[in-house]
């Protein structure tokens, strides 16, 4: 379980997270939504153990702020919003960096992780030569290699992802969502920050909608993706429809209506 209780984070003078209470279960995909500056990434970084916080963030029973980096690394992989690689490492070398020490069949995991994101053919190309979207997929493969088996003998593992599809075309966006889905089905936990409401609706078991450092609503997509709630939080008139056999979908307003 991921248990967050009364989480506060200050960055400089601003209180970026003002009291977050949230539980997320393994086996589920939890998607964090919210407008720019609502604290989504900060929440993810706090869960990742990257920043100091007040309150409690427990991942599989470990308070992350007091857990050694190597122990956390065996428990969860984190895909950062943007990663630049300083030296001309090949794609395979970058993915291999994700492998934790003592892991068995490391090379097979590297190859399988590359195959999962469709980059097998690029394994030995310097990562700096790839396009932005390909680099993002390579980093996803690295994070996947770090927690390859969704569930280990020490319990479920977690994927924490900050806008993993921001630079991807729609085909690869869907592929990444499928990867997250499979990881959750395998017993792992997934927490992802997304911007695309419809993508969120398609993959999430649970959606957490944030605004101004607090949780505005949390629950299954049908409960959170509502006209009134979304329009208020995003400050923009949004309509939610229902696609047959698919669930909710969100339609932006016609731009003419806004510019008139």
């Amino acid at each position: 379980m991921l248990r967050i209780a009364d989480l506060h984070v200050r960055l400089g003078r601003a209180e970026v997270l003002a009291g977050i209470d949230l539980d997320a279960a393994p086996g589920e995909v939890t998607v964090i939504l919210g407008p720019n500056g609502s604290g989504k990434s900060t929440l993810l970084r706090a869960v990742a153990g990257e920043i100091a916080y007040a309150g409690s963030v427990q991942l599989a029973g470990h308070e992350v702020a007091r857990t050694a980096p190597w122990r956390l690394a065996a428990l969860r992989g984190v895909m950062e919003q943007a990663s630049t690689v300083a030296f001309p490492f090949t794609v395979a070398e970058v993915v291999r960096l994700g492998l934790q020490s003592g892991i068995e069949a490391g090379e097979e995991i590297v190859a399988a992780a590359l195959a999962e994101v469709g980059l097998s053919a690029f394994a030995h190309r310097p990562i700096q030569e790839l396009s932005g979207g390909q680099q993002a997929r390579a980093h996803l493969a690295r994070v996947r290699a770090q927690v390859w088996h969704p569930s280990g003998h020490a319990g479920p593992r977690w994927l924490l992802l900050d806008e993993p599809v921001a630079s991807l075309d729609i085909g690869h966006q869907v592929e990444v969502m499928a990867i997250l889905r499979r990881f959750a089905q395998g017993g792992g936990g997934v927490v992802a920050v997304l911007h695309d409401l419809n993508l969120a609706a398609s993959v999430a078991d649970r959606i957490v909608l944030m605004a101004a450092g607090r949780i505005e609503a949390a629950g299954p997509p049908e409960a959170v993706l509502r006209d009134d709630l979304l329009s208020r939080v995003y400050g923009c008139p949004l309509r939610v429809g229902v696609a047959p056999a698919r669930g909710p979908w969100v339609l932006p307003p016609p731009i003419e209506a806004l510019s008139a």
Binding site: R45, A48, G49, E50, A68, P69, W70, L72, A73, A74, G77, V78, E80, S83, T84, V85, A86, F87, P88, F89, T90, A92, E93, V94, L97, G98, Q100, S101, A105, E107, E108, V110, A111, A112, A115, S120, A123, H124, Q128, H139, Q146
Partner: protein, 352 residues
Amino acid sequence: MAMALDLPHPGQPRAARLRPWLVALLLAAALLSVGSGAAGVSLHGVLGDLLSGQGISARDKVVLLDIRLPRLAMGILVGAGLAVAGAVMQGLFRNPLADPGIVGVGAGAGLGAVAAIVLGGLLPGALVATFGQYLVPVAAFLGAWGATLLLYRVASRGGRTSVAVLLLAGIALAAMAGALTGVLTYLADDRQLRDLTFWGMGSLAGASWLRLVAGAALIAPALVLAPRLARGLDALALGEAAAAHMGTDIERLKRHSVLVVAALAGAAVALAGGIGFVGIVVPHLLRLLAGPGHRRLLVDAALLGAALLVLADLVARRVVVPAELPIGIVTAVLGAPVFLWILLRRRGFGGL
């Protein structure tokens, strides 16, 4: 999953093939170095004497054991130290242009060494008599350590290093160290001034087993420890946050890297004065030849750095016979163009 192993692996075998060549290069350089010198003692001749059962003459013995071998050993230590210091520093700052000599760490080490030479006389005589030969290397190490810590504090924010800030801070640091060194020069007496001049020229000419032991006490452990930083430095190439997420203890990695850089650069400066560009050219060439992985790079850099410095020393001894050039001039003449070439190539990657 078996297809994993069918993937072509172009980088790997090429990289693995490089190591024997580096060892061979170092051996060849070492033989050349031992076999040549102003005294005209040749290895060939000495071997001939040995094989014919005559034994080596006393003069040849002195030339080989007390002049050429310590000089060779010092070249190996200093070259390996400078190259590995450069590689670790570049990994720490996530930039292939970081080099102890360029960003002021060498100047900090120099300040420490000069302070030890000039102010060492103020220490109790018994202390100097016992630890005298360690004084300059340790002071240079402390100077380099302080400089590296300061640089990291100034130039790195939140896991990103601004190269502009790094270089400018290095210039400021070098200026400050230079000024303090100047003040110390004023305080120095005649004998100390002579020591300073000799040391400052950057040369392996002052090699002796005694000085070598003092420098090796810092360089050898740092060279042995450096490869243990490899995994952390590899991870750090993706940024501090990503490295931490993958399990690297970032603060410990930084502390240890700074100590290794300071020990290597400090002791190298203490032994041989200012020798530039080895730390930048050697790791760069190796990254081109065998990839940027630090596990391989840190060992290969020691080999190639040692070989190149021994060869540079040979050149320094040969070009203006019977005098010799300061080796720093040779490495600068050979290294500076390579540095400029790196700069030109990197412009294609969206600037620095």
